[in-house]
């Protein structure tokens, strides 16, 4: 399809849309009602009125049961005329509220209101059966609006006393539709309850609309938000772990304000972004992390091409559709107040070593290198004694900066309902979270939301969704503080006894080294303010010009600002021997950034059921543009540390800068769904996308998908299998694109322009050539196949959802090496080369059971697995590449295979025979395997030693409800994954960094333990630090991810407190972790790395109050 035909199509869709809107204004609002009936039932007439007017008419069957038949004739009549006529002489009256007509018994003649005495209580009895006539024991029978309630006995029978004969009795039973029966029908109630096929009637949010789950042909998973809302984690993504098959949450640390990475069905491409596209209320959004979890109505995860292809070029990594709450049906507002307070602590804490141990290890490492030890015997003695706080202290640096238990508080208030302006949902959230670093590390977040849906007329609906988020953080880069503390030597004191900050390591009575004094850092931190605000307005108009056709126009504006102001006060440096203090420069850096994003969407949906055929056609157009502007300014030499405005600094020191980025996206899309008797389901979707990241001529592409489903239980031959709720087969195939991983300006060759050099002490601008552009770049395209099976028996007693999938990604936007001799600044280029294949499965097994009226439980087990491998790297194949090799898996680590620790002279002599074994190798060092046996150790001996991705993950979700108590438990785990051991935790002692207590398990000449955790310690020699299998650890774990125990206040109390419900609960996250093969002190969700910030274990207490 060329560019102009596409434009034509887009414009056609637009014309259809616009013409629709124009008709609104022409045809107007008060079109009349035309029909005639003779001796028809009132119900029949009312249905006609409802159909023509669009008014909703509410009436009870029992109310209209004794209405008189009517004969009427209308032509272009107003609703009032029609109704007045119809209700003439009826024992009924009507009232119009909003767009709803409510039919009630006509009040008695206007007798003066005399308050009657209390009506006499009445005895009610009866039986409850299911729709097959079987008695239902344990059904809750309650008088509406009171706390009078009983349960049915084994024969389904019950009896209770109601306050009077106008009361309504409510029958509730899990798995059945709740039924309300007014006593006006009589005092003996023989009731049957309809089974609630909840899983089937469930409505799922899909792209540009909703769909019944039973008619889905695509792989879509939904998140049960009820399970998540009370989880004491600030970021909703943190709560998704283990709950959705095929969704991996990578929470490598719990620093406040950071968001975990998420992957949908693993990684299907090489390099670049692998996160899913996230849409909030239909508009692409950059992040979910700041949204209040309680505002979320639902999250749908679109996993296969059938579900995601309508998002085309950005959907290759899956799509997350997040819908916020829109308000209720009730006139009376529902006020919800949720609050929790939690205590956060590290899941695992690395152990540090004492100063004596440190000095011993330093001496040992130097001796291992044939050098003289730096610590004397006297030093070691003093470290051991601990009597000298100046030169021989024993500092717990980590303890000095890390607060082990830190609070989190969340308060949330919302109001929702249906009022004159329409449906509304208003909410506010305040979150406070303390991070692990003492003194600083606070995070505050405010969320405000106002969602209003208003019917302007029968045919026109307006929706305005606005939200505002503000987050404030008083720190940045706090991970460095903990990391530096982790590797600071215990031999340095934070302060000298005279009060000056220290941080100096002494050996033999002299300076040895200086650690970054993190106590000084946190005590002199800032002031620092990191603020970010996001304001979103999402306005849409929905117009139904004729029945079955819906036109929708949506405009979204997102404005974000991010600014930080960081002041660095004068940093004192005290010279211990000279007794002098030097003050560093103070400085202030201000950074301001603003982001603006516009999103315009127009869709037209035509939905029609004729006979056994159902048809749904959607067409749409969207465009997005984004711009990010940044500005920064710096001054130093402030007159004192009290003034923190730029102007107070020395103007001679000022520097500033600014940058800006932008991109745009434009698309046309469509979907056609068809089913026959809900038995055979078909769907076709397609999207035509254009991106500014690609050069003209390559920037448009089309992404189609087709899918089909077969609801087997709807077949005639299955009619006898009544126990079968659902048996459905799904199949889909489709294409998705990816160009998001490209830089914003790939089509434009760039130059490196900067102040390059000084001549005559003045800066001159220099220009160097950047990497050339590749105007030929195009999307990478992945083709996904999905085969799914959904089954459920006995009303959800057991259910299964299984998917297997396969994905081929071609024309991968690959960074391929360019000869370094060409001389590009980065010896690589991006090109469409290579292909990757993936496959995997998602499986959910669930079980629900109501044991008796007091106790029910549910369990669901979720497991998913995947693997991606390189099929072809075209001519860029590098059989010994360090990252990707043809046939290798994505995420593979390559390195030497460590055979073990050299533990005998004979081993050493043999090993030394291999060429390239470094001459410093000695006893206690690692031995690497000469894989190809060529007697030489080089890159050709690098083999696969592990894989970084979590390729199998599982979750077990258990829910119990006993009387007023509820308990939810989530176990979550990962397998088939490796973590790497790196940084200073591997290069212990380099730069005099401190080892951890795990390094005590090492090879030493005295303890020649070939099974030690680490080889002999060295300071300068790097041969043990080579990337090798020794430094790879299995990242398998199982953890008690979440547990929540709640108690609901009984109805009796609620009644007296005049509240709808009150629940108190205690919740916990990451309470327990089992990771047998991992290294102590490090959370298995992160690498063993000195860039460290804890993952949190949280215990919280909370309340959910509704009134």
């Amino acid at each position: 399809m060329n560019f102009y035909t596409l434009v034509m199509r887009i414009n056609l869709a637009l014309i259809v849309l616009i013409s629709g809107f124009l008709q609104v204004s022409l045809a107007g609002y008060g079109q009349g009602i035309t029909f005639s009936e003779d001796n028809a039932s009132l119900v029949r007439v009312l249905r006609k009125v409802q159909a023509q007017s669009g008014y909703r008419i509410l009436y009870g069957d029992e109310v209209v049961a004794n209405a008189r038949p009517v004969s009427v004739r209308f032509r272009n009549a107003s609703i009032k005329e029609v109704l007045d006529k119809c209700f003439e002489g009826q024992p009924l009256s009507y009232t119009i509220r909003e767009r709803t007509i409510i039919v009630q018994p006509r009040p008695r003649a206007e007798v003066p209101q005399v308050r009657p005495g209390p009506p006499p209580p009445v005895e009610v009895r009866g039986t409850v059966r299911d729709n097959k006539g079987e008695p239902l024991p344990g059904v809750s029978v309650r008088v509406k609006g009171t706390n009078v309630s009983v349960s049915t006995d084994a024969t389904g029978g019950f009896s209770l006393t109601a306050p009077d004969n106008t009361a309504t009795i409510v029958f509730t039973y899990i798995g059945f539709v709740t039924r309300e029966v007014p006593l006006s029908q009589g005092l003996t109630l023989n009731i049957s309850l309809e089974e609630e096929l909840k899983a089937l009637s469930e409505v799922v949010v899909v792209a540009y609309g909703t769909q019944r789950k039973s008619s889905l042909t695509a792989a879509v998973s939904t998140v049960k938000m009820d399970d998540i809302r009370n989880t004491p984690r600030p970021d909703v993504l943190q709560s998704l772990s283990g709950r959705v098959p095929g969704l991996t949450v990578e929470e490598t640390n719990s620093e406040p304000g950071t968001s975990p990475g998420i992957l949908v069905r693993g990684v299907g491409t090489i390099d670049g972004s692998t996160g899913p596209l996230i849409l909030i209320d239909g508009s692409p959004s950059t992040s979910l992390s700041a949204i209040a979890p309680s505002d979320i109505e639902s999250i749908s995860v679109l996993k296969d091409a059938a579900a995601a292809a309508i998002y085309g070029a950005r959907a290759a990594n899956g799509v997350l559709l997040v819908t916020t709450k829109k308000g209720g049906e009730m006139d009376k507002a529902l006020i919800e107040f949720n609050t929790y307070t939690g205590m956060q602590s590290p899941t695992r804490l690395p152990g540090t070593i004492s100063s004596f141990e440190y000095a011993t290890l330093v001496n040992e490492a130097l001796t291992n290198e044939g050098k003289a030890p730096v610590y004397s015997e006297n030093d070691l003695m003093l470290f051991q004694r601990g009597t000298d706080p100046v030169m021989h202290p024993n500092t717990d640096w980590l303890g000095a900066v890390l607060q082990e238990n830190v609070p989190i508080v969340n308060n949330y208030l919302s109001a929702s309902g249906n009022s004159k302006i329409g449906r509304y949902f208003l909410s506010g959230e305040y979150l406070y979270q303390k991070g692990s670093v003492k003194h600083i590390d606070h995070y505050n977040r405010v969320n405000l939301r106002a969602n209003v849906t208003s019917k302007i007329s029968d045919k026109l609906q307006l929706q305005v969704l606005t939200s505002y988020q503000h987050a404030k953080r008083d720190a940045a880069g706090v991970m460095n503080i903990l990391s530096n503390a982790l590797r600071a030597s215990a031999t340095a004191a934070p302060r000298y006894p005279n009060g000056y900050y220290a941080g100096t390591m002494f050996a033999n009575g002299n300076y040895l080294w200086r650690v970054g004094n993190q106590v000084q850092v946190i005590e002199n931190y800032g002031p620092m303010d990191n603020r970010s605000s996001n304001y979103t307005v999402n306005g849409s108009l929905e117009y139904k010009p004729v029945k079955d056709l819906t036109l929708r126009l949506m405009g979204v504006y997102q404005a974000g600002t991010g600014d930080s102001s960081s002041y660095q006060g004068q940093f004192e440096t005290y010279d211990f021997f000279e007794r002098t203090v030097e003050l560093g420069r103070n400085s202030l850096t201000e950074r301001w950034g603003k982001q603006n994003k516009y999103d315009l969407q127009a869709t037209a949906t035509y939905e029609k059921r004729f006979g056994n055929h159902y048809l749904n056609v959607l067409g749409g157009y969207s465009q997005e543009s984004f711009r990010h502007d940044r500005l920064w300014a710096y001054r130093a030499d402030f007159i004192n540390d009290e003034l923190h405005e730029l102007s107070a600094g020395d103007a001679a020191t000022q520097t500033n800068g600014g940058r800006a980025d932008h991109w745009a996206f434009m698309s046309g899309f469509g979907r056609l769904s068809y089913n026959f008797k809900e038995r055979y389901l078909f769907e076709f979707t397609g999207r035509y996308d254009g991106s500014s990241r690609l050069a003209a001529g390559h920037q448009w592409d089309f992404f189609p998908s087709v899918s089909a489903g077969w609801n087997i239980q709807k077949e005639n031959f299955m009619q006898n299998a009544r126990w079968l709720d659902l048996l459905k087969l799904r199949f889909s195939v489709g294409q998705l694109g990816n160009a998001e991983k490209l830089g914003l300006y790939e089509p434009y060759p760039r130059l490196d322009v900067r102040p390059a050099y000084t001549f005559n002490d003045g800066l001159v601008v220099g220009v160097l050539y950047g990497n050339p552009a590749n105007p030929e770049l195009s999307w990478e395209v992945s083709t996904t196949y999905n085969l799914g099976l959904d089954a459920s028996v006995k009303n959800g007693l057991f259910a299964v959802e299984a998917d297997i999938w396969k994905k081929e990604t071609n024309d991968i936007l690959l960074t391929v090496p360019v000869s370094t001799i060409v001389g590009l600044p980065a010896p690589s280029m991006t090109t469409n080369a290579g292909s990757v294949a993936s496959h995997g499965f998602d499986l959910v097994l669930s079980h629900n059971k109501q044991v008796n009226s007091d106790f029910r439980y549910n369990a669901s087990f979720t497991i998913s697995g995947w693997r991606s491998w390189v099929v072809d790297l075209k001519d860029r194949a590098t059989p010994f590449g360090n990252e990707y090799r043809p046939g290798g898996d994505l995420g593979d680590y390559y390195g030497y295979e460590a055979i073990g620790i050299i533990n005998s002279e004979e081993q050493l002599a043999n090993y030394r025979n291999i060429e390239n074994v470094v001459p410093q190798t000695g006893l206690g060092d690692l031995m690497y395997k000469d894989q190809n046996g060529d007697g030489k150790l080089d890159y050709m001996d690098n083999v696969k030693i592990g894989n970084r991705y979590v390729k199998t993950q599982f979750g077990l979700n258990l829910g119990f409800q006993f009387k007023a108590f509820d308990l939810a438990v989530l176990f979550q785990g990962a397998a088939n994954t490796d973590r790497v051991w790196d940084g200073y935790t591997k290069n212990a002692l380099m730069n005099y960094e401190s080892p951890l207590d795990l390094h005590l398990d090492r090879w030493t000449p005295e303890n020649q333990n070939a099974d030690a955790l680490v080889p002999r310690l060295l300071m300068n020699y790097a041969h043990n630090r080579q990337t090798s299998s020794w430094w790879i650890k299995s990242g398998e774990y199982v953890r008690l991810k979440n547990v929540q125990l709640g108690y609901n206040l009984p109805d009796k109390l609620l009644q007296s407190l005049k509240i709808r419900s009150l629940r108190a609960y205690v919740a916990g996250s990451n309470l327990f972790t089992y990771a047998p093969d991992y290294v102590d002190g490090f959370d298995p969700e992160r690498d063993i790395y000195d860039q460290w910030y804890p993952n949190f274990r949280v215990v919280s207490l909370g309340l959910n109050l509704k009134f």
Binding site: N510, L751, Y757
Partner: protein, 563 residues
């Protein structure tokens, strides 16, 4: 309805025209390549950026570390430099520093020079020919310098003289081809470059700087590849420098105890210092550029003090009357290595040598190159505290290693007082100076058999340092004298590593397993410490390997021999 139709058409046309424009989002901040080389001034920008090519390549961090590859000085901390494994024999072909600095960056600047030389002639006629030639000469010299380095480090290497495309995979050229290319290029650049510097701080290349760069390359070829005819080429080039009358050894203070040290100070980096031919520019507080961390950092930085001298280097400085006066052979001293058992080779031979204060009565350059570590330690224990440095109002260095030899040469005292900002130096780093040219000239003449002609130039350098003249008619002896003189005069000036290679001196001075000791503690009743052990094997360590990354990707390339 007519209005509505008009509205449709309006909307339609709006979307038709805007579609392509809507998706056109060129960079907002960066300059696009297509807009470059549109005016002659662009060439100036391109040339400006190339001067980094002299600088960031050798050490990283603005520090010239290469001399730690000799037996004279050592680096205490492995993490300061990427090529540390090359100092002890554990270098591998995937060393990141060799790949990044010695290989990739070289070719990056070569590419930029190639592009400039390809594009610049279109401006002929638009600017004065002299300016145009000057741009070309600078680019050409820098490119030839970069190829000199490639030849010195790798031997055979690809020779690229035109901008290449991303799909090119060049093969190896022989060192001979590179040598022929650079010699011709230097000759061309010498024609193009101006005689007098265009700036006051010796920042820009001149004809004479190009002569010296050419001579250095020629001397390397003569020695390393045993091509004596190149001595003549070097001598011819250097003769132009020496006879130009534009340069003279710095002796502003007429004080041998001061001139050598102050030659490198910021206050003397201007045009009136006629010893400098070219220097790398540093400016204080210039955070925008990479060249802020100047050389002072590494010598006296915040706790680094990584570079120190071996004892045998200290022993190599003559007694104040010179070795010839005491009958000590330069040849012996050039390959002398301190061992634990040794007393100083000067003990008992130089009458005024004192073991407890080795800095007394020595070549004045010793006191100007290193801080005296033990001024208070005149008998018995080594005392704490270091030498007082009046200019900086600080004492150096109260450290556990106070009995160690720390550099004073090139360190700028103003960085240490009142604010301790050794990283924020403004003193330029001299890339080419006249003393080097003189010594090279002497060596070239001697190499061409003109020993008698050579002698005066060495004595010029010695005289400035306050050392007595040497005398010899023996070509080999003079060569040893020159070697010694270069070691003493040029430490940390990025010359000695290449000198060792061209002298084929490495087996002699750094045999496999050789242990080197730091400060000699025996006179103080303590035991000297081994500072490093070199496990270098030859001829392997005469070249470094072409990086694995390139070999792995590029089958046209021949891996370096011995690696």
């Amino acid at each position: 309805m007519r209005h509505i139709n008009a509205l449709y058409i309006l909307l339609l046309s709006f979307f038709l025209v805007s579609c392509e424009n809507f998706l056109k989002k060129p960079p907002l901040t960066e300059l696009s390549e297509s807009s470059f080389y549109k005016s002659p001034g662009d060439a100036a920008f391109a040339v400006n950026a190339m001067y980094d090519g002299f600088y960031e390549l050798e050490g990283g961090n603005g520090v010239p570390y290469l001399d730690v590859l000799t037996d004279l000085i050592f680096l205490r901390n492995s993490w300061e430099i990427g090529f540390f494994p090359a100092t002890n024999g554990s270098l591998t072909s995937d060393n990141w520093w060799v790949r990044d600095r010695m290989w990739n960056k070289k070719y990056t600047y070569i590419r930029n020079a190639n592009i400039l030389l390809e594009n610049i002639d279109q401006f002929r006629g638009q600017i004065p020919d002299a300016d145009l030639d000057n741009y070309k000469g600078q680019a050409r010299t820098i490119r030839a310098f970069l190829y000199t380095r490639l030849m010195q480090i790798f031997g055979d290497a690809p020779l690229v003289t035109k901008p290449l495309g991303v799909n090119d995979w060049p093969g190896t050229n022989s060192a001979d081809e590179i040598i022929n290319f650079i010699m011709a290029e230097f000759d061309q650049a010498i024609i193009e470059l101006p005689v007098d510097p265009a700036d006051n701080k010796h920042g820009r290349l001149t004809k004479y700087a190009a002569y010296v760069l050419k001579a250095r390359a020629a001397m390397y070829v003569a020695g390393f590849y045993n091509r004596p005819e190149y001595y003549q080429i070097a001598a011819d080039a250097l003769r132009e420098v020496v006879n130009s009358g534009k340069f003279q050894l710095f002796n502003k203070y007429q004080d041998p105890a001061k001139d050598f040290e102050f030659l490198f100070r910021e206050e003397n980096e201007g045009a009136d210092n006629r010893e400098i031919l070219l220097s790398l520019q540093f400016v204080k507080n210039e955070a925008a550029t990479e060249n802020t961390h100047n050389i002072s950092t590494v010598f006296a930085g915040n706790g680094w003090k990584g570079i120190q001298a071996h004892q045998n280097y200290i022993d190599m400085f003559e007694c104040k009357h010179g070795w010839q006066a005491h009958g000590i052979s330069f040849a012996t001293m050039n390959s002398y290595r301190d061992t634990k058992a040794n007393a100083s080779p000067l003990a008992g031979r130089c009458p005024d040598y004192t073991p407890q204060n080795e800095f007394a009565n020595r070549d004045p350059r010793l006191n100007q190159t290193f801080f005296n570590p033990n001024i208070r330690g005149s008998g018995g224990a080594i005392s704490k505290g270091g030498e007082f440095w009046p200019e900086a109002n600080r004492s150096f260095f109260p450290d556990q290693d106070n009995d160690a030899y720390f550099f004073k040469k090139m360190v700028e005292p103003s960085l240490f007082y009142p604010l301790y900002e050794p990283w924020n130096g403004a003193n330029n780093y001299i890339l080419i100076r006249y003393a080097d040219a003189l010594l090279l000239y002497a060596e070239a003449l001697n190499g061409s058999g003109r020993t008698a002609e050579a002698l005066p130039y060495i004595n010029l350098v010695r005289a400035r340092a306050g050392m007595p003249a040497v005398a010899t008619g023996d070509r080999m002896e003079l060569l040893e004298i020159i070697k010694h003189e270069r070691k003493v005069e040029l430490i940390m000036e990025q010359q000695l590593y290449y000198d060792y290679k061209r002298w084929r001196e490495m087996e002699r001075t750094m045999p496999y397993g050789a242990v080197y000791y730091g400060f000699r503690r025996e006179p103080f009743g303590a035991v000297s410490q081994a500072m490093e052990t070199k496990y270098l094997v030859y001829p392997k360590y005469y070249n470094w390997p072409i990086p694995t990354d390139e070999i792995r990707n590029n089958s046209n390339l021949t891996p370096s021999p011995n690696w």
